[in-house]
């Protein structure tokens, strides 16, 4: 029986090739999108889950509360925190301090291999880190390899890269930043990409210069601390001891009240309040957002399916009637129709796998993650596919099967089943309305996202971002001596307009805040964002002054330039009033000599901070070069040559300011692309679904159309007749979509401090697009029906 059903199903599909094609195409595209989304979500959720004892591992993080209500969060902790915790908490089995650094590694030429220079992130780790996180050691072990100063451990891949074969790496030396020689004492297996610890080069914590720091007042996001709870201890049990701990150690006066808390390992990848060493967090909000899109896609495809199947039901009513009088139970008929749906879904799923495979490279580059469609490496994907097969078969197949199997045989045999019996025109209309609502919501969201993104791109940040190259210079004492000659060499080049040594660009992810005094000995109740600059900083970045002058040439802190927000926060109305007032920070004091016009120092998600600019040559190791945009490329190669000649031991590392800034919106760009693609897919699916539906309706109403023609209706009138109900449905769908879309985009936009004003246009455009699509689809098909030969339709069946 089952075999026969399958055979019949196949023949039925073949007979209605057109609709089968529409069904399968729509279904497979949306299934492929769902699979892609699932693969991505699975990959993201798998972060940091592979470690043993992961439920007992926590990271200590810091937060500050300010008098003005501001809060500030950091993934880092004061450096003395780790030893203090180890000492004070018996509930912690292990405590490990982690210090991130980076530098130029030099591997000497050997056995025919040329010398290798490489800029790489380094991690100073305590041996206990590896007792918290279990890594596989190919050679050595944490307690021997990482106890001595100047010991280095590499991952297998890195060791292979530097030495050809990791076995050769053992015992070799690697020079860091032209200063220290490290001895390779161990090799660990490579880490998976789905981890927040991108370990490559590990140095023993004993080699870290500032390891014995006693300063509880400064926190760098590069200093983290991990702990492993004792078995049987609940993290809640630590609340009280932690409060005491905070009270005991944070005794210094500071404008913000600092405290620490424990963040579970599982939260690190998903909480964007704190960062991580992998520089990537994916909030659950994002994952839920993208999952909802997946659900939308699946829903639209199922709606297509149901619509086509119930429309088709009428033509199959006779078969149902005959089968019933031959002795078929309703249940058997339901199974028959379900097996047909399953067959279609199965074919669509196979196709979807092909589409997924094709789309994977594009997705990898979009997310910058190595996601794979490995059925065997991740059996969960296989389970997901199976679940999709069952879910879609039932979701899409059950209702039509119930309707079709419910036909009364007496009516069915006489071909008297009308669309009214075939599962309510009302339901079909409702489904179309839902489908178009989803389409309209996605169109609105996509338009708003595109508009906001272009707003961000085009919004003036208050400084010049175009054609500014940023080069990180080595900051060792020897290199510092070369700065001036390097600068004059650069300025001599034709394509170079200006050069500035500084700590960071006007907008940078590298920020530092500090407390200060203004015109008194009292510490201000907010902190100021410090930017190390030089006499050419304002010119190079195109910043403009509203009062006073630029900084004069100096190697140390001598005078200050502040921004308008700084004065606003201090309630200074007239910028000229501020000139000459004394500011004291970092233990140095000097007068304010200029006030710079406000510029955005963070991404447009955030508002402008109070900022103070000052000179400090020893820490100004970032070089900004304003270039002539016409001769950009040739000048850049020229600059690279000069760099390599000047700083022979270092790696040339250049980026452009506008790229750096574009990077702030990486997540938004991904979201934008996703919305564009998936809105396109949903529009396409709705479009073909509509085409299928109108085809059936046209066939069904052939008789009526023919009769109307005989009665004198023109083709145009017929097309209008067939169009009208669909246009109404689309209009209603838009009415439903507007408030939902409005709430969603409003929510999204509220994440930006600087955003576009929501107006009516995206909504109107969404309506116009959906009405146009409907008109085109319905008209094409109904024209065919209208011009069909009248006599054929009126012949007795």
């Amino acid at each position: 029986m089952f075999k026969l059903n399958l055979k019949i199903a196949w023949r039925n599909l073949w007979k209605n090739k057109g609709y089968t094609f529409i069904n399968i195409l729509g279904l497979s595209i949306s299934l492929a999108s769902c699979i892609l989304i699932f693969i991505f979500v699975r990959y993201e959720l798998s972060f940091d889950k592979n470690f043993e004892n992961s439920e007992r591992i926590y990271r200590v993080v810091s937060q500050w509360k300010y008098a003005d209500g501001n809060e500030f969060y950091s993934q880092g902790v004061p450096r003395p925190l780790a030893p203090a915790m180890r000492n004070d908490f018996a509930q912690l089995e292990k405590v490990a301090a982690v210090q991130q650094g980076g530098g130029t590694l030099k591997i000497k030429a050997q056995n025919g291999r040329a010398e290798i220079k490489d800029f790489e992130m380094t991690f100073y780790l305590e041996p206990s880190f590896f007792e918290i996180f279990k890594y596989q050691w190919l050679s050595g072990n944490p307690n021997q390899s990482l106890t001595e100063p100047n010991a280095m451990v590499l991952t297998e891949k890195t060791a292979n890269k530097y030495f050809g074969d990791w076995h050769k790496a053992l015992g070799s030396t690697i020079n860091l930043d032209n200063e220290t020689n490290f001895k390779v004492t161990g090799v660990i297996k490579d880490t998976e990409p789905n981890t927040s610890f991108p370990l490559k080069v590990i140095l023993s914590y004993a080699s870290y210069l500032d390891k014995n720091s006693k300063s509880w007042g400064s926190v760098s996001s590069n200093s983290e601390c991990y702990v492993l709870l004792q078995k049987g201890i609940n993290i809640k049990d630590l609340d009280k001891p932690l409060a005491q701990f905070i009270k005991k150690y944070y005794v210094e006066e500071a404008p913000g009240k600092e405290s620490n808390s424990f963040q579970s390992l599982g939260d690190i990848h998903f909480n964007d309040k704190y960062g991580n060493f992998n520089q990537a967090t994916t909030s659950y909000k994002q994952l839920i957002g993208i999952s909802i899109i997946g659900l939308f896609l699946l829903l639209t495809a199922c709606i297509n399916f149901i619509n086509l199947a119930t429309a088709q039901a009428i033509s199959r009513s006779k078969e149902v009637g005959v089968r019933k009088v031959m002795g078929s139970r309703r249940k058997q008929l339901i199974w028959q129709f379900l097996s047909e749906t399953t067959l279609i879904t199965f074919i669509a799923l196979l196709l979807a796998c092909v589409f997924t495979e094709l789309a994977l490279p594009a997705m990898e580059s979009l997310f910058g993650a190595e996601v794979t469609f490995g059925l065997f490496t991740h059996p969960i994907i296989f389970v997901f596919l199976l679940a999709m097969l069952v879910l879609v078969s039932f979701l899409a197949g059950l209702y039509p099967a119930m309707i079709m199997s419910g036909f009364s045989p007496a009516l069915a045999i006489k071909n008297r089943v009308s669309s009214a019996n075939a599962g309510g025109v009302g339901l079909r209309k409702t489904l179309v309305v839902i489908q178009f609502s989803i389409t309209a919501i996605l169109i609105v969201s996509t338009l708003v996202i595109i508009k906001q993104m272009s707003f961000i791109r085009d919004k003036s940040l208050g400084f010049d971002t175009k054609a500014v190259a940023i080069i990180e210079l080595p900051s060792d004492s020897l290199s510092l001596l070369k700065y001036n000659s390097f600068k004059s060499q650069l300025l001599a080049k034709k394509g170079v307009k200006n050069v500035s040594f500084n700590g960071s660009a006007p907008s940078s992810s590298n920020n530092n805040e500090t407390s200060f005094t203004y015109n008194s000995s009292k510490t201000a109740d907010f902190q100021v964002n410090t930017k190390i600059a030089d006499e050419t900083y304002l010119e190079t970045f195109g910043l403009s002054l509203v009062a006073g002058r630029s900084l004069s040439k100096s190697d140390t802190i001598k005078e200050f330039v502040v921004n308008e927000t700084f004065l606003k926060k201090l309630n200074v109305k007239n910028p000229n009033e501020a000139i000459g007032k004394i500011v004291k920070l970092w233990g140095k004091s000097g007068p304010i000599v200029g006030v710079v016009k406000d510029f955005n120092n963070y991404s447009l998600h955030e508002s402008i901070s109070p900022i103070a600019l000052f000179s400090f040559k020893d820490r100004a190791s970032t070089l900004a070069i304003k270039l002539e945009s016409k001769e950009l490329l040739s000048t850049m190669t020229d600059i690279e040559k000069t760099f390599n000649n000047t700083f022979t031991n270092n790696v040339y590392d250049v980026s452009f300011l506008d790229d750096q800034i574009a990077n702030y919106y990486h997540t938004e760009q991904i979201m934008g692309t996703l919305f564009k693609v998936f809105a396109g897919v949903v529009i396409f699916i709705s479009f073909i679904g509509l085409f299928g539906l109108i085809s059936f309706i046209a066939t069904q109403r052939t008789r009526e159309i023919a009769i109307r023609k005989v009665l004198g209706a023109s083709n145009l009138e017929l097309i209008r007749m067939l169009n009208s109900s669909f246009i109404w449905m689309v209009l209603i769908a838009n009415m439903i979509a507007w408030p939902i879309g409005y709430i969603l985009v409003k929510q999204w936009l509220s994440g930006f401090q600087y955003r576009i004003e929501l107006n009516v246009w995206p909504f109107v455009i969404a309506m116009v697009i959906s009405v146009l699509i409907t008109l085109i689809t319905v008209s094409i098909r109904s024209y065919k029906a209208a011009v069909a030969n009248t006599i054929d339709a009126l012949k007795y069946e």
């Binding site: 026969l4 023949r11 089968r323 009088v325 031959m326 002795g327």
Partner: protein, 227 residues
């Protein structure tokens, strides 16, 4: 075999009853060949549908094989379809997606008959109706007469005790119609299968041995055909 008592069928519309059948009382015995005749709209097909349990009477009782079947649940009704009743339709109603062979096989599958038994019964029927050569064709590749032969073969496959035929020759040319009617007569006389047919044609009615004349929902006449 069939006992109809005071069968009525009407549709109520805004309080006005429009009758299709009124006071139909009759008995049909095993082995009879009954033709139901009457003008269009007289209620012939409705009566046949009630006998075939495709419609329920509004009033009255109906006993099939001594059992009251006026209101029967789906399961029991399907049991009767599987074992006792075979339908033949004016428009043949073969399943378009199935071959001749599969169409005949379908009721046997529902009856859960073993595959060897199935094969032999179908072979027997194909042989008997001279359609062996056509067994792998689809309905739309056959002439109307041939389709109806398949329809009858399908009705017979489950070895029913009664065949209900609604204008079985209505769509056929007269030569083919004669062939079908002869087949019915033979089935009735040689195999003892009870046959009830609805027909317009006086000539077709003479193949049977009893005629029920219906007009306006009422049995006007019940005559025996004397050969």
């Amino acid at each position: 075999m069939i006992q109809l008592n005071n069968i009525e069928k009407y549709y109520a519309n805004k309080g006005v009853k429009s009758y299709i059948l009124r006071h139909v009382t009759t008995t049909i015995k095993q082995g009879e060949f009954v033709s139901i005749m009457g003008p269009s709209g007289a209620g012939k097909s409705t009566l046949l549908n009630i006998i075939g349990m495709l419609e329920e009477p509004t009033y009255g009782t109906y006993e099939f094989l001594g059992e009251d079947v006026t209101t029967l649940n789906e399961r029991k009704r399907i049991e009767l379809y599987r074992n006792h009743i075979g339908f033949v339709f004016q428009a043949y109603h073969l399943i378009d997606e199935m071959t001749v062979y599969e169409n005949i096989e379908a009721p046997l599958l529902y009856k859960k008959i073993g595959s060897s038994e199935r094969a032999s019964r179908i072979a027997d029927l194909l042989d008997r109706f001279n359609i062996v050569a056509k067994k792998d064709l689809f309905p739309n590749q056959l002439s109307g007469g041939q389709q109806q032969l398949v329809g009858i073969a399908r009705a017979l496959a489950a070895q029913p005790s009664i065949i209900l035929a609604d204008e079985p020759t209505g769509n056929l040319q007269s030569a083919q119609a004669d062939e079908i009617m002869n087949l019915f007569k033979k089935l009735n006389q040689e195999d003892g299968i009870t046959i009830i047919q609805v027909t317009h044609s006086e000539k077709n009615a003479t193949y049977g041995n009893r005629i029920l004349h219906i007009a306006d929902g009422v049995v006007k006449d019940d005559v025996k055909v004397i050969v």
